[in-house]
Amino acid sequence: MPVFDVASLLPLLIAIPLIGAIFSVLLSTKHAQVLVGLLSASSLVCVMAIILANLPSGGTEFATPIRYALAGWKAPLGIALSLDGFSALLLSLTVFLVTVLTIYSAYYFAASPARVRFWPLWWLLVAGINALFLSADIFNVYVTLEIIGLAAVALVALSGNKAGLTAALRYLLVGLLGSLCYLLAVALLYHVYGTLDFAQLAATAESNPLSWAALALITVGLVLKTALVPLHFWLPHAHGSAPAPVSAILSALVVKASFYLLVRFWMEILAPAVTNEALMLLGILGGIAILWGCVQALRTKRLKLMVAYSTVAQIGYLFLLFPLLMSTEGASGSQLAAQHQSALAAVSYFIVAHACAKAAMFIAAGNIIHSLGHDDIARLQGMAKYMPLSLFTFAIAGGSLIGLPPSAGFIAKWLLLNVAIDTNQWWWVVIILMGGLLAALAIFRVLDLAFIKPEQASDYIAPDNWQKVPVAMPASGLALALCTMALGFNADLIIDLIAIGGGE
């Protein structure tokens, strides 16, 4: 019996960023906001570390999620927070990335008047993400989705130019529509099962028309927010025109938040309503997304847009989880559970690998824009001489996205391939390999230009108003890129964490 209850720490993960937001509104001077940011980030790290250190490692506690009934009212009357392996992994990822990006933002927004509004919105967004990962109540999830959606839109709109505002408006309308689809599903589920709690729903859910309707509405709403092809149209411009730290958190965490919910609903809450055909459909869309995103990334002329299109492709890989959950005839329950476990482990690994690599890439792209004033790929010729660190970061993160060993991206793809072969779905192997090849073409197109010697370039133009960036900016990107390498050597950490709380 531990001295204190881990569960009682869960509300802190939401309260700390909210307090950070309040203080960044009240204290609007530059140094105060940065100080508040660093304090909030470091306290989040401490709380998360204590939680991780006290997670159950075996026995009966291991198999059930940690729950905390807010306001002292047990579900279904009250709202519970819950933590299992999958959400613990995503929360740790959030805390880690937010800490690095907070340091980066302190430099990125140092001279920009936008910082006054950036910091409070940033902490509100973090509160929303943490609240979503902790929530165990389907209506509460709707509110957290709106917090994330509105804060993300406000952050995209910080750029203030017409392209950014238009992208923000489109993002907002799509987000609102997605939330409403989700909310209608909540209305149906509450009508049928009389509860809003994840665990109680999972225990009573059955396969009936209203459950199918609810699952379909939830899927459409969340797929819109996750930007799976063909509903990805809003993503590239929203992620491409936001300030760099915002793009990084949008690609690394915000789209993953709605994906996390999809996994919760399909694997756990509404699992009885799921059919093999529906799983296959999501997988096919994922496969199309991989190829389409890669081709678009190859065609685009702007660096940030290219990185954003690569996110579209990477989201496709995440959706390969669903066909790998399909039950085959004659498989026993324990076999199916093991198959689910390994598929989820592979995709979780993918989420972490992509989040670190993509955040690093957006940081690198942000540095390039910061010092050159543009991100036109054709005009990047020979720029490696001016900003070696940023382009080095870009190269390592790109290696992970392609799936080159020994990066985390390689392990993630390796795990995914294994599950695909185990379940006799070899066609995914072809798509995964093709996706890697196309990603390689896109990344090397940039690196090829950037690392060319200026003298060899035919139409080399020296950057006219080149600005040096503080060393902490490329360094934070490099740290994230190196993390993708380090994760490649420590795969067990993540796979073990996922198993906590009944596996799914």
Partner: protein, 253 residues
Amino acid sequence: MFNNMTLSDSAQQEGGLPSSVLFIVGLVVATVCLFLAMSLVEFQPTDQPLVTLVASNLEQSGVENPVTAVLLNFRSYDTLLEVAVLLIVALAVMPSGLQDAQQPFITVSKPRERSLVLEAFLRWLLPAIVVTSGYLLWTGASLPGGAFQAGALLAGAGILLLLAGHHSFNFNAPTARLLLVIGLAMFLLVGAGVILSSGIALAYPVAMSGILILVIEVAATLTIAAVLVLLFCALQIEPLGPQPNLGDKEKHL
């Protein structure tokens, strides 16, 4: 569908989708709705466990209105996050003038065109609105009403003040920023403070719950009113820059 967005009425035909696509979209939406309606009609509603749960726990919630009990006690966490949503929107539409930070919250000026009738009307109406919104807030404990209704009414007073042309608000002032966060801050403070007595976040001690809910609601009302006035200001003034009918002489409150 979302790539063609226009602002003018006339362009509606040009950027619109071809009618064949519209037909298919309409068909899909109609089928989905038909399926939803059919399955809703076919479903036999079972008992609603929460009806009895809310009724039996109402006494311990500290308020008599069951909706207020759900909003501010049973599911207070939702409401806490909802206040955070309002703060996000306030920040999103706030004019980004750092230089205004030293200016006062409310500036009184003489408009060029004075409307004596409106002024006399306002002099009577404003106190009445403030009193009514206080009353709405107070009755929220037992009758329909509460922080949001009261906040909306209070915001109405602010907007009337704005429309009369005498006053203008500066939301970058420290007072204004305090008003914008006080709802969330008070909610968090109470939610964390009750841990000392009950050990659980947001779990009010039964004897104190009525007063604690009222404290939260008063703070939330102030924030809601401030946010709503800010929303209105943002749509009215921001793109025009300085207000055109600003008087020559200004005095500060």
